[in-house]
Amino acid sequence: MSYQSWGRYPKVHQRGYSLKPRFSFPTFDMDTEILPFGCGRSYGDSCLNSRGLVCDTRQYNKFVEFDAERGVVTAESGVTLADIIELALPQGWFLPVTPGTKYVSLGGAVANDVHGKNHHVDGSFGHFVKSLELIRSDGERLTCSPSSNKEMFYATIGGLGLTGLISTVTLQLKSVESAYLSVDTIAFNGLDEFKQLSDESKQDYLYTVAWIDCMAQGDALGRGIFLRANHCASSKPATLAKKKLSVPFNFPGMALNKLSIKAFNQFYYWNGKRKECLGQEQHYDPYFYPLDGINDWNRIYGKRGFLQYQFVVPAKDYSAIKQIMARIADAGAGSFLAVLKEFGDIPSLGMLSFPREGVCLALDFPFQGQKTLTLLNELDSLVVEAGGAIYPAKDARMSASVFQSFTPKLEEFKIYKDPLFSSDFWRRVTEN
């Protein structure tokens, strides 16, 4: 098995091994650093450990228990969010928080304290973890929850897999009426309009998010499509016919260039504008997971891979986000489907958790060597200056000083980190 991150940058030779079932104890070689590896959906190097090994959790894929009355599921950490939906939705339950792909492992969702379009109402994934079992390299098995081993629990939520191996997780699900959502699609012109839409929607809509055209400059800067939604009752069938596209090979580097990306973004904007409507019934799959319909979509960025850049800055008057977006548009290096979302003020539980109050932008940059790295370093300083944070799950290059600027609990976290567990990301952001 070759192990690589979703962004396929950096490229490293990663050795790994498959974990045996959870009842038989994993044996750790005290001389080799290890890192749990789930579905490989982290974009950068937080899922890589090139100096040591990764332990593959794909055989940790068993459900332990599902209480359909209370919507509480216990499963091994290698179970995917797709598995949980498949099990729980027919009985009226859905994920309490979901990222933009359902092909992540439960352990990965915990370790990155993932967030979704409902952050302003519900907070992040960690808020719904009732308890988890952690296997430490010294052989200790710890049951961690907000009431027992709670420091270890808060270190493990968003702890990037560094506190030990998460063997099982008990998760509270959300009750839903059907597999459908009622979705409003609204075009907006500029960040002020986005802010207004975001403000007026946060009371009544569980999910809010916007796609934004990062290539548009001047008057069109910050134009985009705002989507807001709630779960709704529906008489339509719960499962959609499966039609799956696949990207069979790496696209040549030429396929994505300024012109094609600009054209795509323009098309997306005008198409969204044309389809503007309120209260449209939409199945959860295309709504939450539009890219899951295309296998291996990361190959469109070609052999050199790509970097995703995701940050949050305090919302205040939006001056920081405007400045950063202007810089990105200037560089003309962004890609399609940049995603903008205003986070709420619910504090994350994890010591290293990324979500915090403010406005959050995520976008892809095809990797073009030093040019890309220089631009992202520049963006880093703007984010740090504004008092913002960068998402470790997407990162492959930020410096130690940037990471430390927005991680006040780093020293506390180090107490709970397992001495044998490490990652390329961890070594980079903690070196002096």
Binding site: S18, K20, F23, S24, K62, L87
Partner: protein
Amino acid sequence: MENVVILGATSAVAQAVAKHYARASTQLILVGRNQAYLESIEQDLMTRGAEKVQTIVQDLAESSKWEDLVAHIYTLLDRVDILLVAHGTLPDQALCEQSAERTLEAINANALSQIAMLTAFGNKMAASRSGKIAVISSVAGDRGRQSNYVYGAAKAMLSTYVDGLRNRLYKSGVSVLTVKPGFIDSPMTAHIEKKGALWATPEKVADDIVNAIEKGRSSIYTPWFWRYIMLIICSIPEFIFKRLSL
């Protein structure tokens, strides 16, 4: 009630197949060596909605236990609707070359024990004039190659046996499927580092198996392209083939 028996139930492919049958009105019997692992699979299948799951801890390579095992299963069930024979090992070819004992062990683990099970279940299912049997063989059985001909020889024996059994049971209304997977990325092959486009996931192979069982097919390669790869490999003349290092 539909009764499904899986031999070698802890293998990654068998687990993925079992998930397909984890539904109301299906009862599963899982046979494997590792009790704790079987129990976690049982919990998983029950959570996913299986009607009933029972586990039997048994090393299927132990020939003295063969007869009792089948008898025991038929005390738990009155009829087997689907039998999946999925047990086996990947022997170390280099060790086998040095030891006749190891070679015979490998053949026992990958052919004789399967044949013993199929003989007993085949007769019972023929008598009840119903049921479907699926046997996991391998593309390795299609032609002997220096890198794993002991495993290949066992699988060739198994494939030929299954062909004959299918022919015999046809009149009894029992369908028999030979499954020939190529490379599967599973714990059995975890030690092999270099993996590329030819490697399939256990889930993909399981989907193909379940579809083939439903359609009552006789023989499948999975993924499908292995049929053509093996066609080419089998058509290379021996005077060239013997010089190759495959």
